[in-house]
Amino acid sequence: VVCSVLHTTRPLHTTQQCLAPLPPLPEKGGEVRYGLIPEEFFQFLYPKTGVTGPYMLGTGLLLYFLSKEIYVINHETVAAACILSVIVYGIKKYGSDVAAFADKLNEEKVAKALAVKNEAIKDLETAIEQEKKEQWRIEGRNYLFDAKRNNIAMLLETNYRERLLMVYNEVKKRLDYQVAMQNLKRQKEQDHMIQWVEKNVVQSITPQQQKESIAKCILDLKALSKSAQAAL
């Protein structure tokens, strides 16, 4: 809670640094000895007092506080000692288990983020492949246009030939009509002439001629019968 209140005063976008990708978290925190005193203190005193310097300082300070009653020993001291011993025992016994559990939680979070990232990468790669395939398909557009051109040429040819046929048929019909007209005319003339001739001939046969012709026919027949009988 405290950190979130204080973080609102953090300046935003005031430096040229790029905030993404963030640098990874450090693996281990600063070294602390006995869980309470940072290593820097021991390193700070090492050149002057060696290794035992801080311990001597600690012992001296403790004895000074005790003797001068700056730190009074009362019921709270006993309580603090008990609490501290319980805490230290708990940490020593269950520390590694809790650490493993926390690491596992972290691992899951990281794995989920990584899965999302890999998923995104895979999707983009498939998109790239499909894009390349589309580009390859476009190279075949020449064939597409040739086929279309052929289709159109064929359509034009078909249309042209249909119209040619239509023209031929129409012309032939007109010519046939003319021919039929002429034939009809000639036939009519022929029939009319024949009828006229027949009529005139029939008219010209007078009764006299009819009798003469009948007599001639009878004579002819008799002659024929005679010759037929003679032939038998």
Binding site: L6, E27, L36, N74
Partner: protein
């Protein structure tokens, strides 16, 4: 570098008053200083991948010392010591 931009740990003992003079003691300055101190502590001991008990134990120890200091007057009163 210049005196005003150095951190407290990098200031030599003789320059301490001069460094204190360059400090910004307005409310925003104090708040910014506190926030910087907290964020540096947080990034060093708590915001790591594999921390240990050190991060919060130091905060608790500091709290214990601070509360002992605040209650020292009351603890060292003779009436309190006798009543135990």
């Amino acid at each position: 570098g210049p005196l005003s931009e150095r951190r407290l740990m990098d200031v030599r003992l003789g320059e301490l008053p001069a460094w204190l003079a360059t400090c910004d003691f307005s409310p925003q300055g104090l708040l910014g200083g506190a926030q910087k101190a907290w964020s540096s502590y947080y990034d060093k001991y708590i915001n790591v991948k594999r921390g240990g008990p050190a991060g919060i134990s130091m905060l608790l120890a500091g709290y214990c010392l601070l509360s002992y200091g605040w209650n020292y007057q009351h603890i060292s009163k003779i009436s309190f010591l006798v009543s135990l």
